[in-house]
């Protein structure tokens, strides 16, 4: 799957939760959103890509995705 598009989607989501609240709330917002709407297949594709280093995710998007991926592994 075209991960560049997934990166853009994640960054767009993060930008819309980035509104000057405390960081934990913002991360939780992004985690909840991606968890509710992304197919696990997309998350897995992202996880694979993220292992290869910097793929252009914003800080907020990256932090949220790392949490989600860890949570998915933990299941």
């Amino acid at each position: 799957m075209n991960t560049a598009k997934l990166v853009r989607m994640a960054n767009d989501i993060a930008a819309n939760f980035d509104c000057g609240l405390d960081r934990a709330t913002e991360v939780a917002g992004v985690v909840d959103h991606i968890g509710r709407f992304w197919s696990p297949y997309m998350l897995d594709a992202m996880a694979r890509q993220m292992q290869s280093g910097d793929i252009g995710l914003s800080d907020l998007a990256e932090q949220a995705l790392r949490e989600l991926i860890a949570e998915r592994k933990g299941r």
């Binding site: 799957m1 075209n2 598009k5 989501i13 819309n16 980035d18 509104c19 000057g20 709407f37």
Partner: protein
Amino acid sequence: MSRSETVLVYEPYRRPADLGAPPSESTTMVQVTIDGKTVTVPEGTMVIRAAALAGVNIPKLCASDMLEPFGSCRLCLVEIEGAKGLPASCTTEVAHGMEVTTQNPRLAEVRRNVMELYISDHPLDCLTCPTNGDCELQDMAGAVGLRDVRYGYAGENHLDMEKDESNPYFTFDPSKCIVCSRCVRACDEVQGTFALTIDGRGFESKVAASQDQPFLDSECVSCGACVQACPTATLTETSLIEMGQPEHSVITTCAYCGVGCSFRAEMKGEEVVKMIPNKDGHANHGHSCVKGRFAFGYATHKDRITAPLIRESISDPWREVSWEEAIGFAAGRLKEIREKYGSNSIGGITSSRCTNEETYLVQKMVRAGFGNNNVDTCARVCHSPTGYGLKSTLGESAGTQAFDSVLKADVIMIIGANPTVAHPVFASQMKRRLKEGARLIVVDPLQIDLVRSAHVEADCHLQLRPGTNVAIINALAHAVLSEGLEDNPYIEDRCEPDAYQDWRRFILEERNSPEALAEVTGVPAEDVRAAARLYAGGPNSAIYYGLGVSEHAQGSTMVMGIANLAMATGNLGREGVGVSPLRGQNNVQGACDMGSFPHELPGYRHISDAETRALFEREWGVELLPTPGFRIPNMFDAAIAGHFKGLYVQGEDMAQSDPDITHVSDALSSLECLIVQDLFLNETAKFAHVFLPGSSFLEKNGTYTNAERRISPVRKVMKPLAGYEDWEVTQLLANAMGCPMNYGHPSEIMDEVARLTPTFRGVSYEKLDRLGSIQWPCNEKAERGTPTMHVDTFVRGKGLFRLTPYVATQERSTSRYPLLLTTGRVLSQYNVGAQTRRTRNVQWHGEDILEIHPHDAEQRGIEQGDWVGLKSRAGDTVLRADITERVQPGVVYTTFHHPESGANVVTTDNSDWATNCPEYKVTAVQAYKVTRLSDWQQRFGEFTDTQLELLRKARTPVSA
């Protein structure tokens, strides 16, 4: 009737009753006596209506209960005890204790004399007249007992006046006109277009369209209200002229826009003679538009495919096969793919053009039969942000009001919608309220018709730059809060306090002020503040919005911003206020309600909710996946990546309607099995391996749910051309996929929905038959449905203010792409045009046109009608130019009703952050003069020719 005969249903054709004057809204009742019969009616009722309610039909010609009292024909005269002369009963209000006589020798004589004058100047060709059998003039001649015309027929008359047959759907024959003005009043009062007038005086008086032009060239919008109002054969449906009077009628629901008008299909056997808007229709109250009333010819168009088709690859000719073979082939292919590529490799797409029952079955088949949640619907590309935004703030993914609520609104704010072309029947109702004095705010980059049209002018037009919606809604909210115009008691009582405080702090930041954002939006701060004051002042302020809100990179944010503004000003939870999304297609609301999004089950319940899943697992007898499936664009991306291989598509045409068509075509070409179920070989079907012929709304039973959550019945008036209703086809495929379904009638599907969905618990076909239509939620708490939502509390409990930071779209004008393209609709065409292009509506809009401002055109040397190349980072196409000031400098506009115009070759994959709804409303483009079609258009033409040839081969019998 012989003893062996059983009458099932026989309802002979009858003209619907007309009580002669509209109802009075008064709650004070008065008692009157009509011909000795006592009747109690609201104060303000006209005598003619009171008489009709008492069972006395007073002769009339100019009076109608659809129109305001007029009093010109002098036929409805009565005697009133104690009153002088003979007052017209259509313009005389009842008074308590009034005694009315409707018939005696004196009245009979006067009426006969009146009719005698009418008939002295009327052709006596009743036997060959189109309205023979349904003519009010003929009926009145009979009712008054006219036997002779003493004046003769040789005097000066209008019998030689020429017919106007310019309109493809109705004929104007002035020789039969009695100048009762019903057509003119219907155009003014019902439609609100003011296209007709009575030209001349006295004997010269005649009905004229615009400046005495042919109807087709005039301002007439062909809604047909005048034809319906005409009591003679002056304005007559062409279909009636060709076919004669209908013999029975069936109430059904229009298959076009989200207004969901109720119609009487007036039938002769299995042929539709005419569609007449139902006066008891709760969404449309007897009105309609050119599409619903007239554009039904596609249902019997020669392009309909009436036998299943299959082929191995898309370069092969189609082969006509039996249903059994087609279903076997389709299911076999899907199972092979699933076996080879895994359970996530197949999915289904349904459409807002399908009934509730059909979309419910598609999502059930995908979840329970395909074994994944890869199901989506075309609301993905229109109103998915509405679902997300309203659910997260108010608690329910639906509009808050009934359409009738607009009649109590004091301030109407229209954002990103063009109701007079996309939702014309509701627009007429809105115009009625505006003419009564409601104030109007329009927020739109375009000069939509309502900004300034006959008897309507917006108080504020915030003509913002495309893509800056969130900036404008934040600026409006800032103005409200900074000027102390919010409704504090409402907020304290109804909303979550912490979230409100966060929002308040955020909105009051200087960056959200109208002054700070003026640079971004292009709207002067003072205009924003004036609009904010008007909206907050109400007292009843209502917001109506369309795809100009949802189809943006921040579509969902904008929907939340709208909900925030309505909550902050206390404009939710009663009539006259609210947040109302105007849905593009007839069943957008319903398709979403039915669980056709990949992340949620029917009734907007998330697939991860174990309790809800258990409910469906018990009913369906399978285990369901707890994680969301693919959305449409994800399906395309996965197809291009080689992981998604099989797709079932019901009633949707992504290859025309979805953005970045080149990308869509690549995705469709990557599939190993594409199954398309549709009326026609649409653009998507040209990439298909299996074609399953669908049935039109006239050929099946089911329900649609309109933009006001109103569930209305769709009723079968003819048998399906290909043998099966669409839900039956899905059922065949599901069974072949090992997902057992055994429904005998769509009512059983609705019963299942009701069993499993709290908001639909009280819905049944029996109740729909009884009530006509039902607005959900309909359950134990609201047995007859719910016109207004969130009355005492919000569905989610306390209203939630969500923060709405403005994030500029990545589609912005650059030196390479200096213009912004925005897309929309025209009145005569519907969506991808598959239906309306196959009707005489093409006379109004035969091709898509590029609207460009004179300044931009001049800079580029473009003249009216020139071919213009339009290029974005996604692709390019060529359209003809229309130079107009309707668009701002820097903005160009087009529609996507014709596939070859390629508007969506130019639109990009940019989409709403929350829902992936495409940003159709903003694409950075360049425009330049050209002399030939684009390469894409040439390839498109060749591909279309090839595919039509492959279809012709299926229809040509192979010689042995």
